[in-house]
Structure formats: structure tokens, C-alpha cells
């Protein structure tokens, strides 16, 4: 079960004709899918569309009522291949995943899909994880759209526009026999807004109809000679059809501006739909637009960023001296396209874009304001620096807002005071002890090459662990170490893989590959029972039962199934001694062949979500329950913090030293501690210090507890009184 529940929110998916929907962007997209009459949806979780998968999961009942099949795809490639259902049948379908990492994985299927084309509307909803808060590399979905000829929709980031583009997207797909890609930026996915709903639509042609009367058409299959035909179709038929549809239905939007102002009419701004709100805010700040979106300068908003519509551009540029193109991301595909288009049409309008706006990086409010202002200054509409960004006048030195932060800038006062706060392992995370063990083991047997993977476990590369050399993609942890299958040394490499990556592709790309290539190296599979980093979704190996999916398929069995003989499972990762000993065995055993260690403990975030309410209820009901947490004796702690360097738990913190003679802060355990035991184990295993204690707090103690306590107190109380007498009179 996922970390966040949408059980309540999904009820708004039942809204009928003309009602008001209020909620998050992804929920609105789901509603739009239902209004469009889809027959199937599928996807793979990952920010920013994890919640879309969670919404679909929680809405499964509603989907079933409408005859919609929902699949938790094994990977983005599986999701994309699911769209094959729309090739021969008039079935509408949508798949979703994060981009560009997911689009990379899906590329094979997407290329095949786009080659033959589709009959039913096929939509790929990509969560564009770009810019601040992004967890992946800096690439654009735009490139994938171009290479496979998939139309790219980039709606204005407000719910009515997004919903309209979902609905129109299916029509565009059908009109041009081409899959479409709906690009949702991270903030648009999570934007809260409202729109007027339509009734949900049940598809006329269903999956059942297709299965019971199968159709095929060799010309739609990507194999020569049909592929030669597909290429011709793409340029001669599907492209023009798409351009016609985009124009006829006004998918791109024109805003006239102040028609009475001749000077402003000679200028214009072209933007990706997703940039609209940011550009409008910049125009508002410059006094060139009002709050309601009335701009004084003409605007051309590309809700479809691929393909561009030549005629629309020609129309917009007519009579204009210069325009500003606001295109986020690089390379500057649209700008190149636009320049070529204007050249061919022999139009002399000057195109500004990446000359005034940065080539790379997110177009934040400050970046847009600066770029737009410069454009108007250049064109003589605004006086140079007529308006200053207030930040420039501030007494505290801050990095110039439009430029990229660079290390060589003069250190300012705040830079030393404000430290980065990257995400890290949660309190009590079962993955942390794995890395503590590796760190401790490396002190004994030396450093090892560590190939990391994608997932929460990648936080190991950050302090305090500083472990892991590369990450080559989801599930590719072991694949990333394959070159090291050399026989020239007995030093083995360590690869890390999560259960998510394992089932995504790691079983074949990593484990199968290692078996076949006779690897002698070690893979640690972090098996925490969930696809944890993406929000706690279930997997094949999840140890919880799931009403709509099959779980309980152990990773160890799968690994043995493909031929690994050396397999060890540790069912309590917090057991540092065992973990360390097993890792040591794996790295030093003379036994040849691939080695897999499955490290199993439940994701603590999800476990606490499950267990906490149960505990509270039991305690309230008067049952004897015991809560454990750790603590540090401030009197014996000397403030070296070696324990923190071996753990990094958020509940392990520091506080002022109570000893007035000492200056270094002592370690302290916050009450958020869940009693996982790592800090105690670490201080013992690493022989750190005797300051850690485990406190067991017994709620509703029983008669035996109370009897024992009385007995103990009698003796210890007497002895403690002796100690008190020794100390009496020392302190006033």
C-alpha cells in the first residue's frame, strides 16, 4: 500500500456534468482520462507522477465500474508497450511514468509504437522531472518526442488547460494516428486548482470486444517493408494531419495584447505552455499585464511544442520586429526550429531566446523576470534598469539570482551559515545499517569499489556514509560493475540494488548477466518490501497482501532461479554483527561465482505508518505494550560524534554539552526515535562509547512488572542512597 492514500480525494473522480472539481493536478488528469473514455491505463511510479499511480490504485473500483483496466507495469517499457492495444483497435489508453529516466527505459516500445502508428488515442503522460527538486539528470522529453515523432503537449499549468489538453490530446492522436505525450512539470503535477467537470465516459469499444474479435494489419507492424512505409506516412500524412488538427481546434493560444499600442504590437512573446504563468508574472511585475492574464504585449502560447505549426508562426510574426521565445531546457530545439522556419519563409523578425535567457537550468521567477525585462529594454519599451529587482539592493550579499551558483563566487555571510540539506535515510531506516556495516567492514579489509543504484539507498553517496562510486540507472547497480569481472585480483566489487530496481530489470540486467558472465562479485539487494523511494508502492516481493496484485514472491528464490548459488538472506538488517560477518564472508570467501546478499527489513516509514496507530490503540485500550527508544547519557558522551558518522539517523542529533568545562556539543537522541537499535549496535560493534542506552517504556504494566519493580527499587534504592551520601555536601 502506498505511503499516501487518496481514498478520500478519488471520490471527486465521480463528479458529473458541470460540477466543480477542486484538487491537485494529477487528480485532475485522472478525471480528464475518465472524461475521455479510456479503456486502459498503466504506468510506473516515480516523482512527479507517483501520486498519479497512487490515485489510480485507490480509484481502481471507479475504474472497474467504467470497464477500465489498470496495470501496475513492471517498468516504463512495459507501460509503453501496453499502448500496443491502441494500434489495431479504436481503444483509448494512457500510460504514465517519470521523464526522462522513464522515457529512456520506454524508448524501445515508444519507437515501435510511433512507427506503426495508432488507431485509438494513445497518450503518454510524462512527469517532467526537471529543475529544482529534480532527482535525475538534466534532459528533455522533447528530444524523445522528436526522435520518434510523438506529438508533445505542454499545457498551461492550470487545471482547465491541462484537462482540455488531455481530452484534445486523444483526438489529436486519433486524427493523426500518432501517439501523444503530455508533459507535466513537477509543480503542475502538484498544483492545487479547480475546473468544471464533464461526465465520465464509458468506451463504446471495449477490451472485451477486441479480445473476442481480434484484428491484425501487417502494415502496422514495425518490420520492413512496412517500416519504410511508416517513415513516409510520418512526414507525408501524420505530420500535416496533426498541424491541421492543432490549428482547427486552437490548441495553441494567441493573445492579441494592447492593439492600440503600436510599439508593443511590433513585439511578441512565444512560450511553451508550461512557462505561461511564470511569464505572465514577469509581465505583471513589469506593468505589462494584469492579474487576469491580460497582457499588453501579444503572446503566442504553445500548448503543443512539437510539432510547431509553421502557418501559426508566420501569422504571429507578421508585422513584428522581434519576439522573445521562452523555451526551458537545452538543447534549444524550438529556437532552432523557429529560426529555420522564419528563414525559409524569408521573415525578418528577430528571434531572441537563449541569448537573453539562460541556455540551461530552470526558468524560475527571477530568471524569467530578468530575461523578459532585458527583452523589453533591448526593444526600447522599458528603460534600462528602470525597475530593479529589490534583491539587488539588499545589504546581505546573495548570489546574483539569474546566474548559476558557482563555487568561485566570493563566500558570502549566509553561505557559511546555511548548509545544504539533501534528502537522506529516514529515522530508523533499515537501509542505514547496511551501509554502517560496509563502512565498518572497510576499516577491516580495505575500501571496495561500490556500484550504486537508484532508490533511497543512493543516499549512501552523501555524508555520513560517503559510499558509492557510480549509478548507471534504475536496476543497473550490478550491471554498472560488470567491467570489473576481471580475474586479476581477488578484491571484489560491491553492487547495491533495491527491490524496486531488482524487479524493474535488475534480475536480468544484473543477476542474469552476472551468472552468465561468471561474475565473482557481490550484489546486495535492499529488500524493504516496498518501492520505497517513490512512495511505498507494493512489488512482487512485498510481504504485505494486496487485494489487486500478487505479492509474496521472494527475491532469494528468483535469484536462485536464474542460477546464483551463493545466496544469503538477512532478515534483520539492524543486526550489524551478522550483516558485517555476512558481507565479509561474501567478499573474502574462496568460493567463486556471483554472490547475492538479500538484506530484508521493512521500510521504517511505511512500518511506522502501519504500526503506530495499532500501538496507540492498544495502549489506550489498557493493554501492556512496550515502546522502545534509545538515549545518550550526556555525562559520559564526550562529543566526538563518531556514532553519528556511522548512522546519520535524523533522530540522532546534538545539543549543548551540559558539562560547563566541555565545549563540544554532545550527541542526543530525539523523541522521534523509533528504537530500531542501530545506534546501540553501532556503538558496540565499532567499540565507540558506553553512552547509548535503550529505554523500554512499559505502558499499562502488569502485576508481575509492578512486583519486580518494587523488589528492584528496594535494593537499588538502598544502594543509590549510599552513593548519594558519598556525594552529599559537594555541591551547594
Amino acid at each position: 500500500m502506498a505511503e499516501r492514500s487518496f481514498k478520500k480525494e478519488v471520490q471527486s473522480l465521480r463528479l458529473g456534468e458541470g460540477e466543480q472539481f477542486r484538487g491537485e493536478g494529477i487528480l485532475a488528469v485522472t478525471k480528464a482520462l475518465l472524461q475521455s473514455g479510456v479503456s486502459y491505463v498503466a504506468g510506473y511510479q516515480g516523482a512527479p507522477i507517483s501520486h498519479l499511480m497512487d490515485v489510480l490504485t485507490d480509484a481502481n473500483d471507479i475504474l472497474q465500474e467504467l470497464g477500465i483496466r489498470f496495470e501496475h507495469s513492471a517498468s516504463e517499457a512495459t507501460a509503453a508497450a501496453t499502448l500496443a492495444a491502441s494500434v489495431n483497435y479504436p481503444l483509448r489508453g494512457a500510460v504514465t511514468f517519470k521523464s526522462t529516466v522513464g522515457t529512456n527505459v520506454a524508448s524501445d516500445a515508444l519507437a515501435n509504437l510511433a512507427s506503426g502508428g495508432v488507431q485509438g488515442g494513445a497518450m503518454i503522460i510524462v512527469g517532467e522531472d526537471y529543475g529544482e527538486g529534480s532527482s535525475i539528470m538534466q534532459e528533455r522529453s522533447h528530444a524523445f518526442a522528436m526522435k520518434s515523432q510523438i506529438w508533445l503537449l505542454d499545457p498551461r499549468p492550470d487545471l482547465p488547460s491541462i484537462v482540455r489538453m488531455v481530452e484534445k490530446g486523444f483526438e489529436l492522436s486519433e486524427a493523426s494516428h500518432t501517439p501523444v505525450m503530455l508533459e507535466l512539470r513537477i509543480r503542475a503535477c502538484h498544483v492545487h486548482g479547480h475546473f468544471t467537470t464533464k461526465a465520465n465516459k464509458r468506451a463504446n469499444f471495449t477490451l472485451k470486444d477486441a479480445l473476442e474479435a481480434p484484428r491484425r494489419d501487417t502494415n502496422r507492424i514495425a518490420l520492413p517493408p512496412a517500416t519504410y512505409l511508416h517513415e513516409q506516412e510520418k512526414v507525408a500524412m501524420r505530420w500535416p494531419a496533426a498541424q491541421r488538427f492543432i490549428q482547427a481546434h486552437g490548441l495553441n493560444e494567441f493573445f492579441d495584447g494592447d492593439v492600440a499600442d503600436a510599439r508593443l504590437q511590433r513585439l511578441g512573446i512565444v512560450m511553451q505552455g508550461g512557462m505561461y504563468n511564470g511569464v505572465l508574472r514577469a509581465l505583471q511585475s513589469l506593468g505589462l499585464a494584469d492579474l487576469w492574464g491580460n497582457s499588453r504585449v501579444p503572446l503566442y502560447v504553445l500548448n503543443v511544442t512539437y510539432p510547431l505549426v509553421d502557418d501559426e508562426f508566420k501569422r504571429f510574426c507578421a508585422g513584428k520586429d522581434a519576439l522573445l521565445l521562452v523555451e526551458e531546457g537545452q538543447p534549444d530545439f524550438i529556437e532552432q526550429n523557429l529560426n529555420s522556419l522564419l528563414r525559409k519563409a524569408d521573415l525578418q523578425t528577430r528571434v531572441h531566446g537563449k541569448d537573453l535567457l539562460p541556455m540551461a537550468g530552470e526558468y524560475t521567477g527571477a530568471v524569467l523576470l530578468k530575461g523578459v525585462r532585458t527583452f523589453f529594454e533591448r526593444e526600447g519599451v522599458l528603460e534600462r534598469e528602470r525597475r530593479t529587482i529589490p534583491i539587488a539592493t539588499l545589504p546581505i550579499a546573495t548570489p546574483p539570482i539569474a546566474s548559476q551558483p558557482s563555487a568561485d563566487q566570493a563566500p558570502d555571510a549566509l553561505a557559511t551559515l546555511v548548509h545544504g540539506r539533501p534528502p537522506s535515510f529516514c529515522t530508523g531506516c533499515p537501509e542505514r545499517p547496511i551501509f554502517t556495516s560496509i563502512k565498518l567492514l572497510e576499516r577491516e579489509i580495505g575500501k571496495h569499489h561500490i556500484s550504486a543504484d537508484i532508490g533511497c539507498h543512493l543516499f549512501s553517496i552523501l555524508p555520513p556514509f560517503n559510499l558509492g562510486a557510480t549509478t548507471m540507472g534504475y536496476g543497473l547497480g550490478w550491471a554498472g560493475a560488470s567491467a570489473f569481472n576481471t580475474g586479476e585480483t581477488s578484491r571484489r566489487s560491491i553492487s547495491i540494488m533495491g527491490d524496486g530496481g531488482f524487479w524493474h530489470n535488475g534480475l536480468t540486467s544484473g543477476v542474469g548477466n552476472a551468472v552468465f558472465n561468471k561474475s565473482d562479485h557481490l550484489l546486495v539487494v535492499v529488500d524493504n518490501g516496498y518501492s520505497a523511494a517513490t512512495g511505498g508502492q507494493d512489488l512482487l516481493s512485498s510481504r504485505a497482501s494486496n487485494d489487486i496484485r500478487a505479492t509474496h514472491h521472494p527475491i532469494a528464490r528468483a535469484v536462485q532461479g536464474v542460477g546464483v548459488n551463493w545466496v544469503r538472506s538477512i532478515d534483520r538488517t539492524y543486526d550489524l554483527k551478522r550483516m558485517k560477518a555476512t558481507l565479509k564472508e561474501a567478499l573474502t570467501t574462496p568460493e567463486k561465482g556471483p554472490k547475492v546478499l538479500v538484506a530484508q527489513s521493512e521500510c521504517m516509514l511505511n512500518k511506522q505508518r502501519r504500526v503506530k496507530p495499532q500501538f496507540k490503540a492498544a495502549a489506550a485500550a489498557g493493554e501492556r505494550v512496550v515502546r522502545e527508544r534509545f538515549g545518550v547519557d550526556a555525562e559520559t558522551c564526550t562529543g566526538d560524534h563518531a556514532c553519528i558518522r556511522l548512522s546519520g539517523c535524523p533522530s540522532l542529533s546534538i545539543k549543548d554539552n551540559p558539562d560547563p568545562l566541555r565545549r563540544d556539543p554532545v550527541t542526543t537522541v530525539l523523541d522521534s526515535c523509533v528504537g530500531c537499535g542501530l545506534c546501540g549496535e553501532a556503538s558496540q560493534t565499532a567499540v565507540l562509547c558506553p553512552s547509548f542506552y535503550k529505554a523500554s517504556i512499559i505502558h499499562n504494566p502488569g502485576r508481575w512488572d509492578r512486583f519486580r519493580q518494587r523488589l528492584r527499587s528496594a535494593v537499588t534504592g538502598w544502594l543509590q542512597a549510599r552513593i548519594d551520601r558519598r556525594l552529599a555536601g559537594l555541591q551547594a
Partner: protein, 522 residues
């Protein structure tokens, strides 16, 4: 589209709110309350965030915009992210996050109200330092005050804790109190009520924060240094004979001396505390012109003389005051019971240390004795100090206190201390600043087992370097650089580099005869 931009008085006021929080702190709930509040009172509101992996304790920003709904039904175009210089209200769940808001330029003196909980959630980089890696919280507070049009700062986290709620509820109360948003208190409260989760505790936290959130500069709570008389008043009747001796010292050292005397009497006995004063008195002729040096030496000596050993740890673990402290720390409530388990891992070395010197040396030499003892120590012990068995074991260990003066460790430490004191005194003649730095270097020795060995090794190098730097006019500065480097990493990489930068090497220093072994007795 013919209507032109109107920026006149008729334009409705747009409210722009940025919330900086860490994953799991309830920033999302706070943003939702704001949206609910606005929408319930005729406003159009929009909120966005970048959750992603930031949920996992990372820093993240929630952004809210709201504006009164247009009577003509037009939809406002709201921004999805804050623009520096155009934010009305910045809410930070923690002090460094407030600093981050300043750094990002979100807080402008002309415009922005900044509300921040002034407690600290330390960043990893602050926590993993070998010494004190914390940033200057006062500097952050000052920057907040300087930068904001209005700054509302209080420890809202503690306030929330007191009310059994989360920091978000308190911040919501502070937002209500700030008067930035066009809603009255009751409207804020009904937004909390409508959310339906933990309403009673949220409202209590809201109310407490509302009362406490007084705009303007927050009161500065600096702790005044203890006066000599006030410090001396801490000495109890049994230590009065020593009080007279303490009075003989310069006023600037008295507070430290009192703490030292208290610590050592507690650690061993009054005679030990008297030894301490005796030792320092003997040094006064050499150190008298340098009061600061004396204070540092007194501090370091007290800490060194109260070195942590098995006896000390056992002694501290079984005291009634300690049991009360643990109960308080884990918030033990009436009717609940507490069990405490200690995680210990004494090694052969620590056992030998606490034995009488001869026996200790024998143990360290005898393979047979070690082999017999090792299984008993194993991979560490978890001792339940709240049980009779565990308590008695610790009590017996603590009872070995009178034997301490004859122990192997005592002999080692005394010798090492003397080496340090002698060097400080020698340096005090021709380079007092360097001597002062070396007096402070005692700080490097701390912790247990490996940690302590590392500290001792580093200390030995610094001690030897102090000798080598004797004639250098900037010796003190150079020594302090080395001390800082010694606390930069566990492997001693930074120290090695710092030495190299000064044309020194660890080997070279120790080869001069001032070996760590001799100097520290380890």
C-alpha cells in the same frame, strides 16, 4: 483581450506565501490549511510544491498564492513559484531554513514578513563534525531581523511539543497573529477545525503561538557569565576548605576552577580535587601574567584528570539522578515503567587500565590471560541497569573507585598530563599565545577506545608541533590551524595536509623524541 493591464488602486491585493520546511514536518498540511482558509472566504488560492525525494528529510518549498475572487468571474493567473523580492510572507519551520529563505532572496526588507521557528534541526554536516560543527545561530537570527520587514521568531517547535502538536499548527497561529493575511483569528481556527485531524491539539498549539507571536525583534536571551562569587557559591559545605584556595586565583579563572573542583570531587574525592588545585597553584609563578592561559589549563587539567574509565561510566550509570534524567528524557508518564539497557563494549585494554598497575601490565603482556578474558567480553554486552543483576554488576565496578589511584591508567595519564603541563609552562615563557593554544589542545583527547586513541595520536602530533613552533611568532595561529585540522576528519587526512602546509610531518615531529607514547602514556 482588449482590457488592458490595470495596476491602479482597483487591482486586488495578491498574497504570496512561501513555506520552507523539511520533509515530514507538515509543510504540506500548513499549505493546505492556507488554501482552505482562503477558499472558504471568497478567495482564489493556488498551492504548489516539489515533494519528490525531499520527503525524505530534505529541504523543500511550498508556495501559496491567493487573491480575492473577481466579482466579474475572471480567473487570476497565479505563479507556481516565488519570485525574489515579491513575497509577502515567508514561513520557515526551522532557523536554518529561514536562512535558506534569506539566501534565496525571498525575504525583502520593504515587503516581507518572516515567521520562523527559531529552534535548530542540525544539518548532517553540523552533526558529523569531530568537534563543534554547529553554525552560529545568533548570526542567523540577526540576519533574519535585518532582512525582514517584520520578523516573528520563537521556538515554535517546543511550543508545539508542549501542546502535543506539530510545528505547523504553531506557525499557522503565528501567521494569524502577524496580520499579513486579510483573515481574522476565528477564520484561521475554523480552517484547522475543518481539516478534522488532531483538531484539539492543533488548536491549542495555534492559540499558544498566536499569543506568543509578537512581531518585532525577539528578546535576546544571552546567559551572563557567572561572577566569581556566584561560582564559589556552588561549592557545598564539604568543599569549603577548597573554596579558600580557589579564591587565591585570578577572578577570570574562578568559575572554571569551581567546576573543576566539583567535577573531580565527584569523580574521585575531595583529596583529588585538592590535588588539582595544588597542581595549578604550583604553576602560578610561571603562568601568573597570563590569566587566559591559566583558565585554559585549569579547564583542560580538570577534564584530563577526570578521564573516562570503566569505573566512572559505571558510577554515572547507576545514580538515582541518572535514572530520573532518563525517565524525563523519554517522557515517562505516571503509571508507566522504565527499563534501561546499556550498550557496553569494554576491551582488554580498558580492563587492564582499571587494574592495579602491575596486574594491568601483566594482562597486557599475557596472551593466556587475554585468551581467558576475551570470551567474557565477547562482542560487547547489553547490560540491563534497571535490573538487579545489571545494577549490581555496575555497582561493583563503581565500587572500585578507591583503587583508581593505583591503576595502570592512572599512572599513564599522570605521566602524560605532566608532559603536557611542562610543555605549556616552558612555552609560556617565550610564546604565551602558543602555550595558550596548546593548553586548549586537551580538547583533542576525548571519547573511548579507538576514538580516544585517534585523539591521543593527534594530540601527540600537536604537542610535538608546539615544540617545533616555539620560535615562530605566528606559532599560536599555526597550532590552532593544526588543531582544527585534527578535528576535520577521522583518518587524519586534513591534519596531514595541514602539517605539510607548514613544512612539518607527523613522522618528523615524533622522531624528535617527543613521541606520542611518551607524551600521552598510551
Amino acid at each position: 483581450m482588449s482590457t488592458l493591464a490595470s495596476n491602479g488602486a482597483s487591482a486586488p491585493r495578491l498574497y504570496r506565501i512561501a513555506i520552507l520546511a523539511m520533509g515530514g514536518e507538515g509543510g504540506g498540511v500548513l499549505a493546505d490549511w492556507l488554501v482552505h482558509l482562503a477558499e472558504a472566504h471568497g478567495f482564489v488560492a493556488q498551492t504548489t510544491s516539489v515533494p519528490g525525494v525531499a520527503q525524505r528529510t530534505g529541504a523543500t518549498i511550498y508556495y501559496v498564492e491567493c487573491v480575492a475572487a473577481d466579482p466579474r468571474g475572471r480567473h487570476p493567473v497565479l505563479s507556481l513559484m516565488p519570485v525574489p523580492g515579491e513575497v509577502d510572507l515567508v514561513v520557515a519551520s526551522e532557523l536554518m531554513e529561514a536562512g535558506r529563505a534569506l539566501q534565496r532572496g525571498l525575504v525583502t526588507p520593504q515587503l516581507t514578513t518572516l515567521i520562523a521557528s527559531t529552534h535548530r534541526v542540525y544539518a548532517m554536516t553540523e552533526k558529523i563534525a569531530l568537534g563543534d560543527g554547529r553554525v552560529d545561530a545568533d548570526a542567523l537570527l540577526q540576519a533574519c531581523r535585518r532582512q525582514a520587514r517584520q520578523f516573528i521568531g520563537a521556538d515554535f517547535a517546543r511550543l508545539a511539543e508542549d501542546k502535543g502538536s506539530v510545528v505547523g499548527a504553531c506557525l499557522f497561529g503565528a501567521i494569524a497573529a502577524s496580520g499579513v493575511l486579510p483573515f481574522v483569528k476565528a477564520q484561521f481556527e475554523s480552517a484547522v477545525r475543518d481539516s478534522g485531524v488532531g483538531v484539539a491539539s492543533s488548536l491549542a498549539a495555534f492559540e499558544a503561538a498566536y499569543q506568543q507571536a509578537q512581531p518585532g525583534p525577539a528578546a535576546q536571551g544571552t546567559v551572563p557569565a557567572l561572577s566569581p562569587e556566584a561560582a564559589l557559591a556552588k561549592l557545598g559545605p564539604r568543599l569549603q576548605p577548597l573554596a579558600a584556595q580557589v579564591r587565591q586565583f585570578p577572578a577570570s579563572a574562578i568559575a572554571t576552577l569551581v567546576e573543576g573542583v566539583l567535577k573531580l570531587a565527584d569523580y574521585q574525592d575531595e583529596a583529588y580535587a585538592a590535588d588539582y588545585l595544588q597542581r595549578l597553584s604550583g604553576l602560578r609563578p610561571q603562568l601568573s601574567p597570563h590569566e587566559e592561559l591559566l583558565e585554559s589549563l585549569a579547564r583542560g587539567l580538570a577534564l584530563w584528570m577526570s578521564y573516562e574509565d570503566i569505573v566512572r561510566v559505571a558510577d554515572l550509570k547507576i545514580r538515582a539522578t541518572r535514572f530520573r534524567k532518563v525517565a524525563q528524557e523519554v517522557r515517562l508518564e505516571q503509571g508507566q515503567m522504565l527499563e534501561i539497557r546499556e550498550y557496553l563494549h569494554p576491551r582488554i585494554e580498558e580492563i587492564a587500565d582499571s587494574l592495579p598497575a602491575g596486574l594491568g601490565r601483566f594482562l597486557l603482556r599475557s596472551r593466556l590471560a587475554q585468551a581467558l578474558l576475551r570470551p567474557l567480553l565477547g562482542e560487547g554486552k547489553v547490560l540491563e541497569s534497571s535490573s538487579l543483576r545489571g545494577f549490581l554488576q555496575l555497582y561493583l565496578l563503581a565500587a572500585a573507585r578507591p583503587l583508581r589511584r593505583g591503576s595502570l591508567r592512572f599512572a599513564h595519564e599522570s605521566q602524560a598530563m605532566q608532559g603536557w603541563i611542562d610543555t605549556v609552562c616552558m612555552l609560556a615563557r617565550d610564546n604565551p599565545a602558543l602555550a595558550h593554544a596548546l593548553a586548549d589542545a586537551q580538547r583533542l583527547i576525548k571519547g573511548y577506545s579507538d576514538t580516544q586513541q585517534r585523539g591521543r595520536a593527534h594530540f601527540a602530533i600537536v604537542l610535538a608541533a608546539a615544540g617545533a613552533l616555539r620560535a615562530a611568532p605566528d606559532g599560536a595561529h599555526r597550532l590552532r590551524t593544526l588543531m582544527q585540522a585534527a578535528l576535520a576528519d577521522e583518518e587524519g587526512t586534513a591534519l596531514g595536509q595541514a602539517l605539510a602546509a607548514q613544512g612539518l610531518t607527523a613522522q618528523g615531529l615524533t622522531a624528535q623524541g617527543l613521541t606520542g607514547q611518551e607524551l600521552t602514556g598510551s
